[in-house]
Each structure stands twice: as C-alpha cells, then as structure tokens.
C-alpha cells in the first residue's frame, strides 16, 4: 500500500512543478519524465515479457523525426494531427522491426534489434536531406510554451503508467508473465506466444514514440544521436538500475540518473565514475534494483 501512496505523492510533486514557472526545472524535469516514459515502456518488454530490445531508441527517434518532417515539409502543426501521425510511424516501425526480430531469440534477438536501430541511425545520420549529423529543427512546435509542454509530458507519464499497470493486470499481462517465465510451456497451453510478444513490442515502441514526440516538442530539435544503440543501451541500464519487472522501478532509475548527471559534474570531473560505482553496487548488492529498497519491490 505504501508503494501506491509514494507513487501518488511523486506524481503530485512532479505535477506541482508545472506551476512553478521556473524555466530550468520545467525543462530538466520534463526531460527526466520523458526518460521515465522510455524506461517504463521498455520495462514492459524487459521486465514483464523477458524481451531485451536495443531498438527502443529507434522508435523514440523515428517519432521525433516524423514530427520534424510533418511540421517542416507539410506545415502541419496542430498536435491533434501530428501526434497520431508520429505515433503511427513509431508503431509501424515497431511492427516491422518486431516481426523480423522475433524470429531470433535470446542474445541473437538483442543483436537483431541493435542492427535495426543502427541502420535507422545511419539512415538519418548519413543523408543530408534528412538533416544529416547536425539534425533538424522543428520549424513550429505543436505546443509553444514550456509549461504547456511540461503538462503534456506529465499527463503522458501518468497515463502511460496507468495504461501499462492496467494491461499488466489484464489477461494479456498475465500471458506476458507466463511467456517470460516459460514460453515453451505457454505454447503447449495454447498461446500463440510470438503474436503476444509482437503486440508487446508494438505497445512499447508506440510509447517510445510518445516520448520521442514530446522530446521534439520540448526542445524543437532532433538529432540522429538520439537513435543510436548507445541511447538504447542507456535506457536498458536505467531499467535494470531501477528494477525490472516493477514498472515504477525504471521510472525511479530514470529520475535518479537525471539528477546524478546534473549534480555529478559539480562533485568531480570524472562524474562518469560516480555512475559506474552506482551501477556496480546495484548489480552486486541490489539484485532487484532500486525498487528492491521500496517495500520489497512487489510486482506491479
């Protein structure tokens, strides 16, 4: 029960910042919350379905580039139009990449997803028409004021959590958990497991698209560096640090990493060593991640 209260308190605290009008915290926490959406949506795959995907940043970047493309080339600005279009782009990519990647399993699956995310990275990085290595500006952002963008991100985070928590308690979520524990047994019980994994892949990819859309809205700048395997690796580390299979754990991990990165630099130029120490400590002493600290980190 205390976990639910903590979550509520956290959501309210983040919500209040919307009215603070402090330009720095609006953008800093906005970016951190986008990190939470990415980490939670990846946890649906890593923590609940046992699928370790390194393609997550590809869908994030694709939605961001879709917004830049739609706004700059077609002049569409209204979010009611651009949001569904960008989500569709991310979902379609997730469907195709998912359908192909799921033919492989285990580490081979991980590497196929890495291959696709790198191919997408080079598609944008190497072609001047798509902005090349310098990236693109979003000519006119769907939401101009920073506070409005913050509220949109906050709402997306809360809705994403509720949606994922809901899905995980529904029959579909139960089936995913069965697949994570023993996929072969689930098949012999009559579940077409690859289709379930593909649906999970598309849901997670679409939510990553939401995060990408919001990031492009918050900053008005998209760059291929957001697409590479390094970004996917970072999201995976966030999920593992926070505690996979708990949904709120990865969100905790995203917030913590954002603060460490921000304040770490004040402490030492070698702030990366701080993160290294934290990561190694968590792996060795907190097998269930940070969520392990919160009331035994029971399943969502």
């Amino acid at each position: 029960m205390t976990r639910r209260i903590l979550l509520l308190a956290g959501a309210l605290a983040l919500g209040v910042v919307a009215f603070s009008g402090d330009r720095f915290w609006l953008q800093f926490l906005g970016k951190a919350m986008i990190g939470c959406i990415l980490a939670m949506s990846l946890d649906l795959l890593v923590g609940f379905t046992g699928l370790v995907s390194l393609a997550h940043s590809a869908f994030f970047g694709l939605a961001a580039y879709a917004l830049a493309g739609v706004t700059n080339r077609l002049g569409l600005v209204n979010p009611l139009l651009t949001f569904p279009v960008c989500l569709l782009a991310a979902a379609a990519a997730a469907l195709i990449i998912g359908w192909l990647s799921l033919r492989a399993t285990g580490v081979y699956f991980i590497m196929v997803t890495l291959a696709f995310t790198q191919m997408l990275f080079y598609l944008f990085n190497d072609s001047p028409a798509l902005g090349g290595s310098d990236g693109l500006y979003v000519a006119e952002r769907p939401v101009d004021s920073r506070a409005a963008a913050y509220v949109a991100i906050w709402a997306a985070l809360v809705l994403a959590y509720l949606l994922l928590a809901r899905i995980l308690r529904a029959p579909y979520g139960r089936a995913l958990e069965g697949i994570r524990v023993n996929e072969q047994r689930m098949r012999s019980l009559g579940y077409p497991t690859r289709r379930y994994k593909l649906v999970a892949f598309v849901i997670a990819g679409t939510l990553a698209g939401v995060a990408g859309y919001l990031d492009a809205t918050l900053y008005g700048f998209v760059n291929p560096a957001q697409l590479g395997w390094r970004q996917s690796g970072l999201i995976l580390v966030t999920v593992l640090l926070g505690g996979k299979g708990t949904l709120y754990g990865p969100a905790l991990g995203a917030l913590l990493l954002a603060f460490i990165e921000h304040y770490g630099e004040r402490v030492t130029e070698h702030w990366n060593a701080l993160i290294a120490a934290l990561v190694i400590a968590v792996v060795l002493f907190l097998p269930r991640g940070l969520a392990g600290l919160v009331q035994g980190g029971r399943r969502a």
């Binding site: 809901r166 899905i167 308690r169 529904a170 029959p171 579909y172 979520g173 139960r174 089936a175 958990e177 069965g178 524990v181 023993n182 072969q184 047994r185 689930m186 098949r187 012999s188 019980l189 009559g190 579940y191 077409p192 497991t193 379930y196 649906v199």
Partner: protein, 250 residues
Amino acid sequence: MPEPLLLTETLTRRFDALAAVDGVSLAFEEGRVHAVIGPNGAGKSTFLNLLSGELRATQGRVRFRGLDVTRATPDELSRLGIGRSYQTANLFPELSCADCAWLAAQSRLPSSMRFFRPAERYAEVGDRAARALEVCGLSGRRPTRAGQLSYGEQRQLEIAMMLATEPTLLLLDEPLAGLGHDEALRVVALLTEVARGRTVILVEHDMEAVFSISDTVTVLVDGRVLERGSPDQVRNSAAVREAYLGEEIA
C-alpha cells in the same frame, strides 16, 4: 469400428542417420486409454513430441478428427483440444499453483488479448482453474510456488494444468517416472478418474502400472511397432517378453 480420433500414417522422425520413430502407423479410438510402452530409447517420447507438435515429422502424416495436423504448432494443437503433460517438470517455477492453473484455464478464453478488464474479473477462468486444482488434490497448495512443490505434487500440477485447458485428447509423457510407490498409486488413481470420458495416449516405461488402466497397449522398439493389442495379449506375447527380458538380462 468408429472413425479413430487420432491417426498416424508411416510417421517418421530422423535425427541424421538415426530414425527415432520409423514409419509408425497407428489408430487411436476415441474414449479409450492407449498405452505406448517400450524399453529406453524405443522412441516413445519422440513419438509423443511428434503428436504434440514439439517436434516436426521427417515423413508421414498425423490426422486428428480427420484433419491433417502434421505441421501444426503446439499452440494450434492445444487449441484443437490436445492437452499434454511433461515428464520432467515443465512448469512456472516462480508462479504460485493458483497462477499456473490460472494461465492454463485462461488459455480457453476466445483470446487472451484482453487489455483492460483485470484478469481476476474473469470468474469462469477462476472456476475452471479451481476445479482442475481440486480434482488433482492441490486445493490446499494454491499459494505455494510451483518450484517449491514436492516431486509428486509437481506431477499433479502438470496434470491439473493440462485439465484446465479442457482437452479431449490427453498426451501423457511417463507420468509415473521417478515417483515413490504410494505417490505412483495416487497418480494412477488420479489418471483413472481423469481418463473417464476422454481419450488418453499414455507413454510409460513401467509396464505393470499401465496394464491396470489401459484399454490397448502398443509396444515400440527401436522406433517401430513390435506388438499391439489388449493388455493381456501383449503381456503374454513372446516377442514382447524377449524384447523386454532381453533388455533386462543384458
């Protein structure tokens, strides 16, 4: 002779040169308990894995209710009503017995792609799971994790999960393997009750246990059918005794 529920035509499975199952043609009548016995390495488990779709046949056909299911996947066969249990415990070790049964029962929903209504709200799934656990005598062990059950209880959970999928044909892979005497008796009693009104194909190594509950017995040796008939015919068959005794003496 009524149309057989399941039919195999020259079913073969080769692992490079070795033909683990070599041209087996058998018919399994509905409502009967069919035992398939044979010495170690006779191809019993391979045969069962071919029927349950876990292994793909190199040659030959499998027909279920007249439908060609040779290339069907395990999940398709399960949805057709073919349930199976495993010799080595193949459960969800981290999940409680209740959850294991729940997953099996939930598979009978038209589709589990339901995203919004919490699973507990599906009462019929809950009842089906509870009944299966009840029949298998595991009602008292609902919250216990499958991984922490005793060997015999894990075998009971295997059967309960299979029952929860409400199959019409049961494929049992050596359900008595590794059980103590009284545990085996308990499982045999459970199998007798479970077999009522259903068709069972039972692969087993222990001849005596099988004879008491089987209607027909097929003896497989080196992937080929050596003998087939009623339990008495097979028990008295010279060829079977020699195949078995030969094996035990050597």
